[in-house]
């Protein structure tokens, strides 16, 4: 459970930093009067949707970290047999990076007010994300054909489960991306609301890319040495 404790530690530091800005040591019973007398304690200037996404990413991050925790605890047991890495995962990773880059392109275009650039970026991002999902299914198929079934070894079970959870999160993102694309498609000029939608999609995509890279390192066993070092440090 050390991975998730570490993750919550990071969350706690962020929350603690934020709380330290909120004058938690003030004495409200003495401070009667208008807000202007007591500056710096209003709401964050971010839009609510952005804060909402931030909170959601914390929850999703916690979920994935718990999977990582469970993985690292289960892999120490004797029946664990590491699985070969399907080559297509490399391709998928590249496509997901492309997807993130395309959305970042759309985000920059949105800030410039370049409508065509936004559309191109969103469509490219969406297409490559769908390609990634198809590639993941292909990886499943190849593993199944090679006899690595979901229940034949815990390493396999984790692979299928974690990729499925990641894929579901990406699918949810695609729904939001589709809505954003439709919105941009219908409009002639950039509005603040559209800019925000594009930005939120981009943040979510970068998050899922980061999660995928961590998971990839774990599932392919590249980070095993690192996990071992951490484990020794703790015990």
């Amino acid at each position: 459970m050390s991975a998730v404790i570490l993750f919550l530690g990071v969350i706690a530091v962020i929350a603690g930093w934020w709380l330290s800005q909120q004058r938690l040591t003030s004495k409200p019973w003495l401070e009667e009067g208008s807000i202007h007398d007591f500056p710096g304690t209003g709401a964050v200037t971010w839009p609510a949707a952005k804060v909402g996404l931030g909170v959601f990413l914390a929850v999703a991050g916690c979920l994935f970290t718990l999977f990582v925790s469970a993985y690292s605890m289960r892999m120490t047991l004797v029946d664990w047999r590491a699985m070969p890495v399907p080559k297509v995962l490399w391709f998928n990773t590249g496509v997901l990076v492309l997807s993130s880059v395309a959305l970042h392109w759309a985000y920059i275009a949105a800030r410039r007010g370049d409508m065509d650039g936004v559309i191109v970026g969103l469509l490219a991002g969406g297409t490559s994300a769908i390609t990634f999902l198809a590639g993941q299914l292909l990886a499943w198929q190849q593993l199944g054909a090679a006899g690595y079934f979901v229940a034949s070894n815990p390493a396999n079970s984790f692979f299928y489960m974690i990729t499925a959870v990641h894929g579901l999160h990406l699918t949810g993102g695609l729904v939001a991306l589709g809505r954003t694309t439709a919105k941009v498609w219908r409009q002639d000029a950039m509005t603040a609301e559209m800019r925000l939608s594009v930005e939120l999609c981009t943040i979510y995509w970068h998050f899922l890319l980061l999660v995928w890279l961590v998971l990839l390192g774990l599932l392919t066993g590249w980070t095993n040495d690192f996990v071992d070092i951490c484990r020794q440090l703790l015990s």
Binding site: M1, V4, I5, L8, I11, A12, A15, L19, Q22, R23, L24, T25, S26, K27, P28, W29, E31, E32, G33, S34, I35, H36, D37, F38, T41, G42, A43, V44, W46, A48, A49, V51, G52, V55, F56, A58, V59, C62, L63, L66, F67, A70, M73, R74, L77, V78, D79, W80, V150, A151, P154, S157, M161, V165
Partner: protein
């Protein structure tokens, strides 16, 4: 409402906060107004009614269990399997589907926007979805009573391997639907939780700094943050257990003989599930307790006409409890087998968490000290909560220590402990809170006479039920047993005591019907309450209409000038000053907005 907004520095008027800061959704038909509503107040009522309905089912299950325990062998319609199913469903419903949903989905939805001065939750559509997914989770859960094999009898902790092995009741459908229902619940809760957190962060009205929030909001807010981070652990555990059950994976399942044959499983770790489960399960205790702490602080302050003692310390304690509760989970696993130093570590953190909790108890008592105590029904329940919580908390200190926990772990002592601290105590707050806020929700008072009867029967009855149960536990009477049989260490008096507890439990259970009657009767016949019957300071009592209309606050949002606890301020004309009353005219009489 505020007529002339006041600016402390320049003396110039602040322009009022006009409506368009949030685009309100407008219901177009009866269906979107009352059924598929996006108004947090309606969603709150939907949550509360659904949670109470399934909670009543759990109450009936507890009667059936008590009948079996008090008079074993008398009731032929209860067999050993059913008894296990009753235990499981009673625990799961009460902890998750009743208390969590009621405190966060019910009180959270109703009170957060009103108390922080917002028009609604920030994502009303997601908020509506949250309720409907929750309802679906409840329906899936309830459906397990009707599927072949019935609900799961694995115990509310659902420990593998037995949870999914044949021989455990509900192995076919019950466990699968239970896990599916939990997964749905968590998805629904996450949608709602995002709303509660972001609304507190982003939608506070002008002047409502964090340190001016009523403690109710602090409690619900912190509990929601904890729930958002803790429920994923249950989610992960449920998904993995579901895969073990359905696809034959071995995340948790060791190699074992099932019905005389070697099962398909092998190599898994049941302890892994316990870690995941309690990583959720212990914060869950405080997810239920923190809103109760917050609400009880407000009830005591209002009904003792005194500012809350040590407001800052109360806030810090809430935050500290929230953080600490994530590093105590393994104290539920002392008897599961673990490295002894871990037990030492978790015993220490468990005892440390008693400190902020004790601070809160002292502050409640010091708030009462020399207060102008009105023994209204909400106040009675708040006092009942403090006493019960202290009782339950003290036995928690016993169980937090490894050497004391090991012999007591599987006895009725534990049952008595967690029912006191997590069952009776939060329910006292729920009931007190309903008596307190019912006038705001309906515009009518609940009948006080019936309420006092309800309180005394519930309070005294709870002690008659659970105090003897501690004694049974010390005798060694085991928990989860269908029948005690003839054991030398269980004297006949213990059996009589069990029968006594059953009689009291049924009495207390039926006494709750007076409360249900009161809720319905007062809706039509209750005394009209006006806008602020308790003469309270916090914003929800200052709405222009009661019950609050759509959008909560007429044309302008309220502006907050003070904290929520200006009771009995020396020199003030009234013994309370609403949060939205400007400082210049504290002496002037400003009647409750109605």
């Amino acid at each position: 409402m505020v007529d002339v907004p006041y600016d402390g520095i320049a003396g110039t008027a602040i322009p009022p906060a006009e409506v368009p800061d949030v685009e309100l959704y407008h219901p177009k038909s009866w269906l979107t107004r009352y059924v598929f509503s996006q108004d947090a107040k309606i969603i709150a009522i939907q949550y509360s009614l659904t949670a109470s309905a399934i909670g009543l089912v759990a109450l009936v299950l507890s009667w059936l269990m008590r009948l079996q325990l008090g008079f074993p062998g008398t009731f032929s319609f209860i067999d050993a399997n059913q008894y296990l199913q009753f235990i499981t469903m009673h625990g799961m419903i009460m902890v998750i589907y009743l208390l969590t949903a009621l405190f966060l989905g019910g009180f959270g939805n109703y009170l957060i926007p009103l108390m922080v001065g917002a028009r609604d939750m920030v994502f009303p559509y997601v908020n509506m979805l949250s309720y409907w997914v929750y309802l679906l989770a409840v329906l899936v859960l309830a459906s397990t009573f009707f599927v072949p094999g019935g609900p799961t009898g694995a115990g509310w902790t659902l420990y593998p391997p037995q949870a999914i092995l044949s021989g455990t009741p509900g192995q076919d459908w019950g466990i699968v639907l239970m896990l599916a229902s939990l997964i749905l619940f968590i998805i629904g809760f996450t949608m709602g939780g995002l709303n509660y957190v972001v609304t507190v962060l982003q939608a506070r009205t002008r002047g409502m700094t964090l340190m001016r929030l009523p403690l109710t909001v602090w409690g619900i807010f912190t509990a929601t943050v904890m729930a958002l981070l803790a429920f994923p652990a249950l989610f992960v555990g449920s998904v993995m257990l579901l895969l073990d059950r359905l696809l034959g994976t071995s995340f948790f399942m060791p190699a074992l003989i099932e019905m005389g044959q070697l099962s398909k499983y092998g190599g898994g770790s049941p302890l892994l599930f316990q870690h995941l489960f309690w990583f959720f399960g212990h914060p869950e205790v405080y997810i239920v307790a923190l809103p109760a702490f917050g609400i009880v602080s407000d009830l005591i302050s209002t009904h003792a006409r005194k500012n809350i003692f040590g407001y800052r310390m109360m806030v810090w304690a809430i935050v500290a409890i929230g953080a600490l509760s994530f590093v105590v989970w393994a104290h539920h696993m002392y008897v599961s087998g673990m490295y002894p130093y871990f037990g030492y570590f978790f015993a220490t953190t468990t005892l440390i968490i008693a400190i902020p909790t004790a601070i809160k108890v002292y502050n409640w008592v010091l708030t009462l000290w020399r207060g102008d105590i009105h023994l209204t029904v909400p106040m009675l329940f708040a006092l009942g909560f403090i006493i019960t919580f202290v009782n339950g908390g003290l036995t928690g200190l016993f169980l937090g220590n490894v050497v004391v926990d090991v012999p007591l772990s599987d006895t009725m002592f534990v049952v008595a402990h967690f029912h006191m601290v997590m069952g009776v105590a939060p329910i006292m707050v729920v009931l007190g809170a309903i008596y307190h806020w019912y006038p705001k929700v309906t515009g009518r008072m609940l009948n006080a006479g019936l309420g006092k009867f309800h309180f005394w029967v519930t309070f005294l009855g709870a002690y008659l039920i659970f105090f003897p149960m501690h004694y049974l536990g010390l005798l060694g009477v085991p928990r989860r047993y269908f029948e005690l049989g003839d054991a030398a260490f269980i004297p006949p008096s213990a059996h009589s005591l069990n029968a006594f507890i059953t009689v009291v439990a049924l009495t207390v259970g039926f006494a709750q019907m007076t409360f249900l009657f009161n809720l319905v009767w007062s809706l039509f016949e209750g005394e009209p309450s006006g806008g602020n019957p308790w003469r309270a300071t916090s914003l929800e009592w200052q709405t222009p209409e009661t019950p609050p209309g759509h959008g909560n606050w007429g044309k302008e949002l309220p502006i907050v000038y003070r904290w929520a606890y200006d009771y009995s301020v020396p020199g003030a004309a009234q013994d309370f000053i609403p949060q939205n009353q400007p400082p210049t005219n504290t002496g002037a009489v400003q009647g409750a907005a109605s």
